[in-house]
Structures are given as structure tokens and as C-alpha cells.
């Protein structure tokens, strides 16, 4: 190998470099510089974090603006992952219930604690909060803020986090630890490089598709979402920390005088297992009812119509999304009329 002069030259340079180490402050300075650069890449150039940061900023601004307009009138806040972002039309909810409503949905990748906190962060005494959370994210507790939430949170200072049901929980982890976790990571960099080379969009969703009523849409030529097979709910809400978190949310609601409900997002399943899946969801909701009141509807979080969905089995197209919100609004109205 070392017979080639160029290789020889490189090898001798390597050997020379091995003998002469950097002074410690160069290593430390190099680490600090890389940390800053990596954090900047994460905070500024991560298209996913950038997109959701902007979505959440707009949502919070919208919620605060609406609060100013309606004054002390009771409001509805709906929070959850992208199922909420893509399927809940705030204007339809207002039409059905007569109450001003806001969609405070984010992405499931942010974790349930961040999403619940965001959903409850702008609510006042007497308001209604609907948690439209994907069941998957309630399966296991989060030990720390997921990277997406951390990036969104740190890149815009304090968003909704820290004001809602989980208060300062996110900040228990030392600041430096959280900052150190801003690493972009090989997966992100590799994918970004591939997207740049391919020349396609850096993120599949666009801010232009965020509508005034809070719902997200997308232009897609792809086929409808795949239908899921049967999903067992065995073990759901059995994690002790998840239970503690849900108890905490219920307690927060009581203390703040909020009505906090849980409702299952609609997801697409294969027709042959649809009824079995609905029954499974029904049983799971009985478990959830021990913590929070449930807004149930006939679909029980399952439908077989994949033409209603966009790129995933949770992201509803415009009209089906409006229909789903209408069902939710009617069920809520009925519950409110019936009283506790």
C-alpha cells in the first residue's frame, strides 16, 4: 500500500499528526465550535423542525388572537399529533357547538407530553380541551422531550410548552443536556443529502397548506394511505408513568376548571377487521375513561375508507376531515347538553 508515493506522503503526514497532539484548548474549542454548528444545523436547517415550529407559532398566535376577540367566552382547544393537524377543522367545530375553537395540533413525533401541554397551555377556567391523540404515542412514557419537540421548543424560545398540564416538566433535564441533544444525526443528514441530490422538496408538507381554520392539507398525487391490519390494544395505558401522566392531566383540568376530554383519531383499517378493531378500541376507551372523559362516536377511531386519507392512515382529506370534525362537534355538544 505504501509503495505509491502519494499514499506514502499521506501516511507520513498521519504519523506526524499522531505524534503532535493538539493543545487541550484546541480540542475543547473544536468541540464547542462543532456543538454550535451542529445545533445551528438542527435549529435552522432542519426542514421538519422548521415547519412545525412555524405551524405552532401560527397556531399559538391564532389562539391568542381569538381569545382577544371572544373575551371571556368559553373556548374549545383541540390538541394532538398530526392526526389532529390534518383532520380537525376548527370552523366546523364552532358551527356545531357554537363555541370558538382552535386547532393546536402538532406532530406525534413531539411526544404526548409536549402535545398535551400545548393543548392545555392557552385554556382558561371553563374552557374545553379535546385531546385528539394517536394511541401509539400513549403506549410508553417519555423519559425526556423527544428531539423534534426539543428543536421546535428551543428554536423559538418558549412556545406552548411549560404553561400547560406539564408545567416545567420539560425543563427538568439540565439545559446543557438538552442543548447537547440538538445533534442532527446521521439519519437526518443522510436523508437531507439524498433529498438535495434528488432535487425534491426538503419536507413533504408546506406552510402554504396550513389553512385559517387550523387544518393542514397537502397536494399529493400518491395513492391513498395503506389500510392497517388489526392492532391489538393490549397493554395500552398499562405503563405506570403514562398512567401518572394522565392522572396529572386530569388533576390539572380540575384545578384549572377545564373540561379535558379524550377522543380517538380516525384511522384507516382493512374492511374485514373493521368491526373487531372498533370493539378493541371500545375496550381501550373504557380504560382511558378511568382518567379522562371520552368523546365517543360511531366510528370508534376506525374506518375502512382509505380514499378519505392522504399520505398516512391518520391524515384526512378536506371533506372527510370536515365530516369527522362535525361528528366530533355533535358528540361534544350532546355531552355538554347532557351535563356531567
Amino acid at each position: 500500500m505504501a509503495t505509491f508515493p502519494a499514499v506514502k506522503k499521506v501516511m507520513s503526514a498521519i504519523d506526524e499528526g499522531r505524534c503532535r497532539r493538539w493543545p487541550w484548548f484546541v480540542t475543547a474549542g473544536g468541540a464547542l465550535l462543532m456543538w454550535i454548528l451542529a445545533s445551528l444545523v438542527s435549529l435552522k436547517w432542519d426542514p421538519e423542525a422548521g415547519f412545525w415550529r412555524e405551524v405552532i407559532e401560527r397556531r399559538i398566535a391564532g389562539a391568542e388572537g381569538l381569545r382577544e376577540r371572544v373575551g371571556d367566552q368559553r373556548m374549545i382547544f383541540v390538541g394532538g399529533g398530526s392526526s389532529c393537524s390534518f383532520s380537525i377543522h376548527a370552523d366546523v367545530l364552532t358551527e356545531e357547538t357554537g363555541l370558538p375553537a382552535v386547532n393546536l395540533g402538532g406532530s406525534a413525533g413531539m411526544g404526548y407530553r409536549y402535545l398535551i401541554d400545548l393543548a392545555t397551555s392557552r385554556a382558561r377556567k371553563g374552557d374545553i380541551v379535546i385531546l385528539h391523540l394517536e394511541p401509539e404515542i400513549l403506549w410508553a412514557a417519555e423519559n425526556s422531550l423527544p428531539p423534534l419537540a426539543m428543536k421546535v421548543d428551543l428554536s423559538r424560545g418558549l412556545t406552548g410548552a411549560g404553561r400547560g398540564a406539564f408545567g416545567g416538566e420539560f425543563y427538568k433535564r439540565p439545559v446543557l443536556d438538552r442543548l447537547a441533544a440538538l445533534r442532527p444525526g446521521a439519519k437526518f443528514l443522510g436523508t437531507l443529502a439524498a433529498k438535495v441530490v434528488r432535487g425534491g422538496p426538503l419536507y413533504r408538507y408546506r406552510l402554504e397548506d396550513l389553512q385559517e381554520n387550523g387544518v393542514l392539507g397537502m397536494v399529493t398525487t400518491e395513492a391513498n394511505a395503506d389500510r392497517e391490519g388489526f392492532q391489538s390494544m393490549k397493554g395500552w395505558l398499562e405503563d405506570e408513568k403514562v398512567k401518572e401522566d394522565l392522572e396529572r392531566v386530569a388533576e390539572f383540568g380540575q384545578k384549572q376548571g377545564l373540561k379535558i376530554y379524550y377522543t380517538l383519531p380516525w384511522e384507516v383499517f382493512r374492511p374485514e377487521i373493521l368491526e373487531a378493531q372498533r370493539l378493541e378500541h371500545f375496550k381501550a376507551l373504557e380504560v382511558m375513561a378511568a382518567f379522562l372523559p371520552i368523546i365517543k362516536d360511531v366510528a370508534m377511531g376506525a374506518t375502512a375508507k382509505n380514499e378519505w386519507f392522504l399520505d398516512t392512515g391518520y391524515h384526512m382529506r378536506r371533506e372527510p376531515g370536515r365530516a369527522r370534525t362535525r361528528v366530533l362537534g355533535q358528540a361534544l355538544k350532546q355531552m355538554l347538553e347532557e351535563g356531567p
Partner: protein, 453 residues
């Protein structure tokens, strides 16, 4: 004491700064030089949990009782007392399950580092009698047992290697020592965060249930690299931290994946544990000087398997290696071409890891059966891509495997140059490794696999 958590580094820097200030305020007394390290080590251990400190204190305390014994026979009482916490926390559940049919203590967590410091203390006590050494002073002994870089996951140092060094500990950070230690810390962080963590991520992003035998090979291969980079990464950080304070710990890994036979592999993988079993189990059983040396050998590997974890899968893993090393010793005269012997060794090691990574030996056995079934191999491009969760995972796999290839070539070049991992000390490469840590490591929180042992 998680070396990849900022909390650890903050506690270390903060603790060291406070203690250094106290040292200066006290007028740099001689007694503080070594006592300061005991306080720092216990403070860092206490950050994990107070329970950990209590258990550690019991083991170390019993060790000192053992060192104070005048009669060797008393070790028959002291050593079981040293081993008691290890037995309770790590093995009681398993043995109750074996003998009574159910595991009653699923909730009991194994205290961090218990297997490591217990073995180090035992070796210190045995060596006192075996080599007729004098009893060390309490301060030196406490520093030997609690020196923070190696307390939670080794290396398991021998009295003769570490004790003389801790006697001359100074509670200062010298520039030369710092510059000698930092490159090891950087290398360790790179191996752990940029490689081991990405292999863990890759493993999570394969299909949940393997239907293609190629996936089983990938799972085993990813795990093989993950556990190596995880543990070697930890060991290099420990080595570097110790060097910053002028202590030279044993290099616990000597490029084991370049080994050309299983005997070499075990000389190069977790070096200090292999030596411990050789000196305190294999030799006392008679070593290779007795007629039934093969049985001794297999017993050692079974115990080694059990040391790694209380489960049948670990016993099988240990047993497989025992049989493998025995076969290697029996066929030692027949030399194979280097590449073939290296390939065979790696194949065996990778296959054996299946029993290590799967907690349930039956699942591991099903996977091995799958590998042996030609019908289970689907080699079309579509089937191969189907193993991964999506194109992002394929890109990640290609990147990390390319990086791993680079590291392996670096190890090979260093070994050939006569200085293990020497290439990675290159100062330009060091900057690249630092960049790798901050840009390539996934953002998720991480812990070391060997902390479980």
C-alpha cells in the same frame, strides 16, 4: 455515571472545581491529594443513586475486612459476603426461577457497576494472600476500589497494576496528562455516540419480525458492531479520563474484530475480564495442566456467560464460546489462510451474539434455525429493501456501514503500525471525530449496554 450525559460532565467539572478550591483554601495539604479523589468518586457514584453508594460501600467494606484477615481460611466467609449483593440483585431471580419455577424479583434493578467493582475487590483480597502482599492503607484501597473512571464498567484492574499508581495520585489536572487523555475520550465518544447509537437506531428500524434470513444476519451484524463500539467507547473514555489524572488503565479492547481465531478474540475482547477468569477461575481449576482441561475451559466460559447476565441465553452464549475456543485449541496446528481464519472467527462471533442479544433463548434458537434454512433467504432487491423500515433507514445503514469500514481499516492500520488505535490519535482525525460526535450521533438519550452487567 453515564459518560455520554452532559450531567456527568457537569458534575465532574463542578465537583473537581469545588474540591480543587477547597484544596487551595486548605493550603494544598498532602492528605487531600488522594482523599479528594475518594470524595469526587463517591459524589459521582451518588449521583446515580444513594442505594448504589450503600451497596458499593458494603462490597468495599467487606473487601477491606478480607484484606485485614490474618488467616486465608477466613476468605471462605468474606468472599461470599462480598458476593452477596451481586447474588441478590443479579442472580436470585434467575435461580429462584430455575428451582421454583417463577421469577419473584422482576422489579429489582441491578445496581450500576456491581459486577465490575465486586470482581475488582475480590481480586485485590485474593492477591493479598496469593502474592503475600501487605494490606494497603485505607485511603489507597478506597481509591483503588472507587476510582471513578472505571468504577461502573471497568476495566477490572489488578492490585499490582492500579494500587501503586493511586498511591501517587495528585488532585491536579496537568496539561500534559490532559492532552494525553483527551484523544482517548474523543475516540470513545465517537465510537459510542456516532457508531454504537446509530447501530441501535438501525436495529430499531428493521422490520419488527424477521421473515427473511438476511434480516437475521443484519440484526446480528448490527448488534456485533453496536456492542463493540458501545463497550470499547466506554472503555476508551474511562482510559482517557484516568490518563487526565495521570493513571494508566489497561486497554480493555485490542481490536478484537481483527482477531484470526477465537483464542485471540478473547485475548483482545474485554481484556481485563478474560484475565480475571483466567487467573481466578481457570488456573485454580488446574488450567490446561490437567487431564480435563477442556471441561475447565467450558466451565470458565459458562461462568463468563453468567457474569454477563442471569439467563439461559447468556449461558448458551458462554458455552458456545467455550466450545469454540476448545475447538480452536484442538485444531491449532492446522493453519488456514489469514482471511479465511479471520472470516470464520467473525462468523462464529456474530452467530453467537444472537444468543446474547435475545433475552429468550428460544427466540434466538428460532433465528439460528432460520439462518440454516435456505428457503428463508430472499435475495431480490425488493426483498432486501423490505427489511428496512424505509429509504431513510437504507441511507443510514449505508452511511454507518461505510464509517464502520473506515474505523476497521484504521484499526488494522494502527495494529500493523504497532500502536493499537494509534491512527485515531492523529490530531486532524481527532477534529473529524469531534465533528462526527456532534453531527452524526442521534439526538436520543443513551446509556451503555454494559451498565446492565
Amino acid at each position: 455515571m453515564n459518560f455520554v450525559s452532559m450531567t456527568f460532565w457537569l458534575a465532574l467539572v463542578g465537583g473537581f472545581a469545588v474540591l480543587s478550591s477547597i484544596r487551595i483554601l486548605l493550603g494544598k495539604p498532602a492528605w487531600f491529594e488522594r482523599t479528594g479523589f475518594i470524595v469526587l468518586s463517591l459524589f459521582l457514584l451518588g449521583m446515580e443513586s444513594i442505594e448504589t453508594v450503600f451497596i458499593f460501600s458494603w462490597v468495599v467494606g467487606m473487601g477491606y475486612v478480607g484484606l485485614s484477615c490474618r488467616r486465608k481460611a477466613l476468605l471462605g466467609i468474606v468472599i461470599p459476603l462480598i458476593l452477596a449483593p451481586l447474588g441478590y440483585y443479579k442472580y436470585s431471580g434467575f435461580f429462584t426461577e430455575v428451582f421454583c419455577g417463577e421469577r419473584p424479583m422482576a422489579h429489582v434493578l441491578i445496581p450500576m457497576g456491581i459486577s465490575f467493582y465486586t470482581f475488582q475487590v475480590i481480586s485485590c483480597v485474593i492477591d493479598r494472600f496469593r502474592e503475600e502482599e501487605s494490606r494497603p492503607s485505607l485511603v489507597d484501597y478506597l481509591n483503588f476500589a472507587s476510582f471513578f473512571p472505571q468504577i461502573v464498567a471497568g476495566p477490572i484492574e489488578r492490585r499490582s497494576d492500579l494500587l501503586p499508581q493511586v498511591k501517587s495520585l495528585k488532585f491536579v489536572l496537568r496539561r500534559e496528562a490532559l492532552e494525553e487523555g483527551l484523544p482517548w475520550i474523543v475516540l470513545g465518544l465517537f465510537l459510542k455516540l456516532a457508531l454504537a447509537e446509530n447501530f441501535a437506531l438501525l436495529d430499531r428500524e428493521l422490520r419488527p419480525v424477521a421473515v427473511n434470513a438476511v434480516q437475521v444476519w443484519l440484526e446480528a451484524g448490527f448488534f456485533a458492531f453496536r456492542i463493540y463500539f458501545d463497550f470499547a467507547g466506554y472503555s476508551f473514555i474511562a482510559l482517557g479520563l484516568a490518563r487526565c489524572f495521570g493513571i494508566r488503565l489497561t486497554l480493555n479492547f485490542e481490536s478484537p474484530y481483527l482477531a484470526r481465531n477465537l483464542q485471540d478474540f478473547w485475548r483482545q475482547w474485554h481484556v481485563t475480564l478474560s484475565r480475571w477468569f483466567r487467573d481466578y477461575v481457570y488456573f485454580p481449576l488446574g488450567g490446561s495442566q490437567v487431564k480435563f482441561w477442556a471441561i475447565n475451559l467450558i466451565v470458565v466460559f459458562l461462568v463468563s456467560g453468567l457474569w454477563h447476565g442471569a439467563g439461559w441465553n447468556f449461558l448458551i452464549w458462554g458455552g458456545l464460546h467455550g466450545v469454540g475456543v476448545w475447538a480452536c485449541m484442538m485444531t491449532g496446528k492446522h493453519r488456514l489462510p489469514s482471511f479465511v481464519s479471520w472470516g470464520t472467527t467473525m462468523l462464529f462471533v456474530t452467530l453467537a451474539w444472537i444468543f446474547f442479544m435475545e433475552n429468550d433463548w428460544k427466540v434466538a434458537w428460532e433465528k439460528v434455525q432460520m439462518l440454516a434454512s435456505p428457503a428463508k433467504y430472499q435475495l431480490s432487491l425488493g426483498a432486501l429493501l423490505g427489511i428496512f423500515e424505509g429509504p431513510k433507514t437504507v441511507i443510514l445503514a449505508l452511511m454507518i456501514l461505510a464509517l464502520t469500514g473506515g474505523v476497521m481499516i484504521g484499526e488494522w492500520y494502527s495494529k500493523r503500525s504497532g500502536e493499537l488505535y494509534g491512527l485515531f490519535q492523529n490530531r486532524w482525525l481527532q477534529l473529524a471525530l469531534i465533528a462526527g460526535v456532534f453531527f452524526l450521533a442521534p439526538a436520543s438519550e443513551s446509556r451503555f449496554i454494559y451498565f446492565n452487567f
